[in-house]
Symmetry: none
Subunit: 200 residues, 4 copies
């Protein structure tokens, strides 16, 4: 774990002296993030980096392919849904972004099948976005479909967000804005979906 520990020491030496007051205030009055971001676990797409965000700003979910499952309050374990509930209902974030990205391994698995060594959970999880796959493959061959499928996957997540009654209500009442986005790793460019909510 030496690399992690070294990194933590850099944080203590460089970041902490500057951010100390902020952390202390966040500790004493609690977090009040303005935005929730649902992003991929991919090591190249850290929301705090891409959005230049400091401590206390972003409530973040990261899972494979930034997916949101449909609303299913059945008493079983739903990590993303629980985070969504916490962010929207308890913290009252006013913005919610789903950020996809280029070269997403989860989307590749959705399009071409998961690697043989990853079939306990990845295929079932990615099946949340099965409709993204069919929509895209209706328009183009699989070889060209990666980015389009990444975008459609964001749209599936946005659509699923609206199946949560308290998300839909917050959007309707103007307390919450949804936004889809896509980050291109190679060029560092962020695009926003023009039809973030309604079109889904």
């Amino acid at each position: 774990m030496q690399r992690l520990i070294d990194g933590y020491r850099r944080f203590r030496a460089d970041t902490w002296p500057q951010e100390r007051a902020r952390f202390e205030e966040l500790a004493s009055r609690g977090q009040r993030p303005h935005t929730m971001v649902i992003a991929c676990s991919d090591s190249r797409v850290d929301p705090a980096v891409i959005f230049g965000a400091g401590p206390g700003e972003l409530f973040v979910v990261r899972n494979v392919a930034n997916l949101v499952p449909p609303y299913t309050p059945d008493g079983t374990y739903h990590g993303t849904s629980a985070a969504l509930e916490f962010g929207v209902r308890v913290l009252g974030v006013s913005q919610l972004m789903v950020m996809g990205h280029a070269m997403c391994g989860g989307v590749t698995a959705l399009l071409r099948g998961a690697p043989p060594e990853a079939r306990d959970f990845v295929p079932a999880w990615m099946s949340i976005a099965i409709e993204a796959r069919s929509r895209v493959l209706a328009c183009m061959p699989v070889e060209q479909a990666q980015e389009a499928c990444e975008l459609e996957t964001v749209r599936v997540s946005l659509a699923n967000l609206l199946t949560f009654p308290w998300v839909a209500e917050a959007v309707t009442e103007g307390r919450l804005t949804l936004q889809g986005a896509h980050f291109a790793v190679a060029t560092g460019r962020l695009m926003l979906l023009a039809d973030h909510t309604e079109a889904v």
Copy 2:
């Protein structure tokens, strides 16, 4: 979404020129993160910040209270398990850290009950760590149990990690190291669990 966009512009202006070569290389040769971190969605505990990590280093899951459910490959949606599978089996990370933190709202809900407005998913999700709650409340009153329960929750996650056969195998074969940690928001201190692997 102006604050997010402004932040992205800071990233473009400040970070991108410095990190550009790294992003390009990560785009062309793919990600090879050395470490997977399972952290909380809380806005104050960004792993990339706390570990001074750059793009490509950390494969990150963030959910409420940094929980790992037990291995249950039943074909339903398991976001954290899918990410675990992707990180361990596809990417082959060599380190896996579960990082808890002070003032965790999920742990508070576990100890004292979820807020009334957050009962669709949070209680069921937090029930993963129900054993942490009982272990701690056997020793101390609930008013003093917050931090101890945060630490026990990390231990539950570490124990659950070992129910995944390919995690246990990788640990046994020395290809993967597990580590528990706890970040104190007010002081900026990181503690490592001394009994990270063995105790679980």
Copy 3:
């Protein structure tokens, strides 16, 4: 010209009876378009269609690859610059969008060279975006660069817009907003550039 004439007759039969009052009002009080769009001449990317816009709404420039040259008031013929001057200074539009699109033949010519039969004007015109080409080819092979180069071309146009002193002034004073966009012909999706103005 029979197809055009037949189309005009459809317009007279179907559209005119509905839009007549609007055209009459636009004739009597003059045009007051809220938005100027700089789009490609490509037959698949009509701004009025993509933005569901009616008569009087959009002041439109269409040229190859939606390019804006840099400010050069040298007394020679500058069609796009003249339209820009008319839209911004005379009509006072409050929004200005540059819309790129997928499969842009001009961008293909920029990346791979113009077809041999189109070398009187296309290469010189596309050289406006030569910097887009070099920026993209620094990051990826030409085979993968089409869409990235379309996006960078939009950014070059946005940057060149700001070389016009009265555009820059209107933006600074908040009278004019610039926005870049990209339309994917195959999927009908529109994306917005997150870094429309400042990053260029």
Copy 4:
């Protein structure tokens, strides 16, 4: 940009479901427009609307006063000439229409001088049609000359088209037909110039 985005959503909701197959086919096999239209940027004279044209039909240039400059392949930026080259030589359109219109602000500037705030580019650009101005003012006072000058401006563009050797050749060989037209905004009427080709 809300109005544009709202319009795009109407396109997604209303137009896209009907035109989807057409866009997909246009994406997969490329554009093959039968006609090129050179029209004014004016917000009231959209060629796709006036000719009831769908995606893929019209390759469109829009500039101030639908002008075509004379053939000058000098390596500087010529947007309209580049579009002409692309439409005629690369796409091989079989019809080319120059469409003027009533109440053209560019023609008004040509007749009476450009507004004081629009003198960087508009006067130089409109000087392409200086001959139209003198022809008309030889016959009538400036107060009555607007429409006549709009028509003469179309004729100047048609004449200039024939200075492009590959346009003249295509016309001579019967591969390309030229047509002048004028759209009266107040009445919605389209007139065709009887002397479209021969007179020029």
